[in-house]
């Protein structure tokens, strides 16, 4: 052990590998082994838009506090990609370590004096110990798990349990992989001298009772429990796994082996516009229907989104955001669709948008979205992002739903018999939400004509100026009603002058940023927006603070902009914008540093 203090359970390990080399299994084994030791883990997969050959990185952050955002620094790198060797060396924080293929040259720019090098002949070890040539490139990754385990002090039982879990559906692979792990352990024992400060130790009190789950699977489970029966989708990263998870859960839990019938209809559509068309057609006819997409698909859906808003049809659209504009970075994360989704389509269109931050919320909002869509008879957008959707997160077990479906204002044949007449777009309750009937309702009074052209309260074609404006006003009233029906903001407030306002996965960086600010002597309040339209609580919160820092993961400060439009001018003036938009998940420093600087410049007279 080198001089200096040990750093226990507080580090980020990065595996730098080549896409398609099978490193994901090793990364998951490492993650699960650490999780089993009671150490909070936060993995981030930084992968290319590619099947094989481009560089890929997998970061797993360990932190005793249970932080779930990126740490912003890499402590240990496992370098197994010659193409990124220079960059990988540069990425290690001073005092950190790099475990690398010994064939890589350590000289010139790759020779640093402030990090520890562990050269391991991975290629040779694999050649020597893995008989089957085709398996070598995969098992190299297990060798590095062994090296890491030995250097960090991860007990072999934890690794073994994680390997067994990882390959539970393929038991024949367990022994081969364990053997490869042992090759790494033994090499490290005999050839490597521990010279870095990092180690892991079993912990208690942080991970007990938790699960590890990605947001897309959690959202898919939300859809299953919400009673979604129609899925129409078009594959697009990073939303694909949401749809595929839904399909696999339907196969597993909704199929009748006797008849072959499955209580779900799933269509892989020709494009995203067809997908949302199917969703709205199904919603019109009374089924709970959803699609999932990402930015480019959302662009394509704009046409039908406006129809859904104006003709008042329920449907749920998940947008697992990636980095745009255009194709952008398909495998990187951003919150770049917020403003677009909120007003998606031409004309005065405004949608309900849910903004989950956690795996638990991906699931809960997945369910809420269907209730809101039917209650408000409108498309509801759930804006997740790649970070939440595709990364694995520590979370609480998802709670079994405690309430029935809210199917909204639907008139049955019996109810129709009791009324003289009804207007599909009338507002008898004053909340802007009309009543609807479903096709197939056996009543001569049920039918009406759904159209995207001008219509009156009785769904009749109308070009009347008064009727048109009246209908738009009612739709605005409905949107106002939604302010209190959508998930309300989560607020942590104790009378400070300064506050942070954020949404979505930025939350995890805010948690750590507030700790850092506290350590620097600055306490800040915090409001997390969980849906659009804004709850009245948001305006009230802003009014109670002198300065509110709004954090967006997009270049233009989209939520900041929406807030400025929504708030009275005096309150809008309290807002300041912090923005992060490089496609890598936000970390605490991005928030804490500019905020601290701004606050200190206020405190210091010029």
């Amino acid at each position: 052990m080198a001089t200096g203090e040990k750093i226990v359970n507080d580090l980020t390990i990065r595996a730098a590998t080549v896409n398609g080399s099978g490193s994901q299994s090793s990364n998951l084994v490492l993650t699960h082994a650490l999780f089993r030791l009671g150490i909070p883990v936060a993995p981030k997969n930084v992968f290319p838009s590619n099947i094989e050959g481009l560089p890929t990185w997998y970061d797993v952050r360990l932190s005793p506090q249970g932080y779930k955002c990126r740490s912003g620094a890499i402590d240990i790198v496992v370098a197994l990609n010659a193409a990124t060797w220079h960059d990988d060396v540069a990425s290690v924080r001073p005092g950190g370590a790099i475990i690398h293929e010994s064939a890589y040259p350590v000289s010139g720019a790759t020779l640093r004096t402030d990090i520890t090098y562990y050269a391991v002949p991975f290629g040779e070890l694999a050649k020597k110990h893995v008989a089957q040539g085709s398996l070598r490139k995969y098992l190299v990754n297990m060798i590095y798990v062994g090296v890491l385990a030995e250097l960090l002090g991860i007990p072999s039982e934890a690794i073994e349990a994680a390997v067994r879990e990882q390959f539970r559906r393929k038991p024949s692979a367990v022994e081969t992989n364990l053997a490869a792990v042992r090759v790494g352990v033994e090499y490290a024992q005999t050839h490597l001298e521990k010279r870095d400060p990092y180690c892991v130790e079993p912990m208690t009190g942080r991970t007990e009772g938790s699960i590890l789950l990605d947001g897309n699977r959690a959202a898919a489970l939300g859809c299953v429990m919400a009673g979604c029966t129609v899925l129409a989708w078009y594959p697009i990263t990073p939303s694909t796994s949401l749809c595929e998870s839904f399909i696999s859960y339907c196969d597993r839990f909704r199929a009748d082996p006797a008849t072959g019938e499955r209580k779900a209809a799933i269509v892989q559509a020709e494009d995203e516009l067809a997908a949302i068309g199917m969703v709205l057609g199904a919603g019109w006819a009374g089924a709970r229907a959803m699609t999932a997409t990402s930015g480019p698909g959302l662009s394509l859906m704009a046409e039908y989104a406006g129809f859904g808003y104006y003709a008042e049809l329920p449907g749920v659209i998940f947008d697992v955001q990636r980095a745009g504009p255009s194709t952008g970075l398909p495998t990187r994360t951003l919150q770049g669709d917020v403003a677009f989704a909120y007003t998606l389509s031409h004309g005065d269109t405004k949608h309900i948008v849910l903004l989950p931050a956690t795996v638990e919320e991906a699931y809960e909002f997945g369910m809420d979205a269907f209730d809101l869509a039917e209650r408000f008879q409108t498309p509801v957008f759930v804006l997740s992002d790649l970070d939440l959707g595709m990364n694995v997160w520590m979370a609480q077990p998802l709670a079994y739903p405690d309430r029935p479906f809210d199917r909204g204002k639907v008139l049955t044949a019996a109810e129709l018999e009791r009324v003289e007449s009804w207007g599909r777009y009338a507002d008898p309750d004053g909340d802007g939400i009309p009543y609807r009937t479903l096709p197939g309702t056996p009543s001569a009074k049920a039918g009406y004509f759904t159209r995207g052209s001008g219509h009156d309260e009785f769904a009749r074609y109308s070009e009347s100026a008064e009727v048109f404006a009246r209908n738009l006003d009612r739709l605005a009233r409905k949107h106002e009603t939604a302010r209190l029906a959508v998930p309300q903001p989560s607020i942590d407030e104790s009378g400070r002058a300064t506050a942070i306002l954020a949404y979505g996965t930025t939350h995890h960086a805010v948690v750590e940023a507030r700790d850092r600010l506290r350590a620097a002597g600055l306490e800040v309040d915090y409001l997390r927006v969980r849906a659009l339209p804004f709850s009245p609580e948001v305006a009230a919160f802003v009014a109670r603070h002198e300065r509110v820092y709004v954090v967006d993961q997009n270049r233009d400060g989209q939520l900041y902009g929406l807030l400025r439009t929504d708030l009275p001018a005096a309150d809008a003036a309290r807002l300041q914008s912090i923005r992060h938009y490089n496609g890598v998940p936000i970390d605490a420093a991005v928030i804490a540093e500019p905020l601290l600087e701004a606050e200190r410049s206020l405190a210091t007279p010029a």
Binding site: L212, A232, G286, P439
Partner: protein
Amino acid sequence: MSTGVSKINLNVTGLSREVYKGSATTLCAGCGHNSITNHLIKALYEYGVEPHRLAKMSGIGCSSKTPAYFVDQAHGFNGVHGRMPSAATGAKLANRDLLVLGISGDGDTASIGLGQYCHLIRRNLDMTYIVEDNGCYGLTKGQFSATADLGSVLKNGKVNEFETIDVCGLAIELGATFVARSFSGDGKQLVPLLQAAFAHSGTAVLDVISPCVTFNDHEGSTKSYAYVKEHDYVLHSADFILGRGEIEVEYEPGSVQDIELADGSHVMLRKLDRAYDATDRIGALRAVHEARGRGELVTGLLYVNPASEDLCERENVPRQPLKDFGEADLRIGRAEWAKLMESFA
């Protein structure tokens, strides 16, 4: 009616023809679409469709306005331009009990909606899809559409320089299971074809040439009343016989093709072209191509596959409408849920 004087004819469902009517048309007087609406009213009435089971779907354009002009009591869905097939797909998946009737036009189908049209056919959704085909855009005042024939002339003298998209030929190529072509002026042929389309299980395409009296009914147009009447090559006259049971119709051998449809109904094709077999896909393609080469319009039931399996059957969608399932049917049970959560720990 309290007077009880009029003796009203009722259909098999016990409804009068009045029930099948809709709002007054707002299309031009003499528009082929209005004739089609009248033929539809007759076909739906005779077929005995229960209005609440009918879902009238359309896109945008003159044709797409017509669902407002029949069966007032039914639900209608006048969606966005060229995207009716997707909405129809969703509606049918949500409720298999619906009789889904889509009305589109040549622009709505062959230009902006060509993608959805193709994929609808590929999936073989159980619906009737009518193209009210006049070769031009009416609401925007007379531009060519993609079904206009090469060399056809617009009212302003402009000649169409582009090949036509033949929606029937395309449908057959894509594996459509029911493809017919007819003429808005030939109710005798069209009504039984419509009824056969309702009875068919799968996507039934009917391309109905429907002259636009305002913008495409002049000398030089190949979609005018005069041109169609002169160039209509009729394969057969059709009779539709509703309901199951033995059919006892006498006919000269080889003169009639009797096809049993999915719901047990029959369509009897009285052959004018003795050699034509409506279940021969390649023959149908040949007929379409040869007629076009002659500058003719081949009408009749071009192709049908009576053994067609529709999307819901292929996808094992339950008979009970999906919209009717509740929490107990759709949610994962508590015990299984607990196990699932354990597997994530």
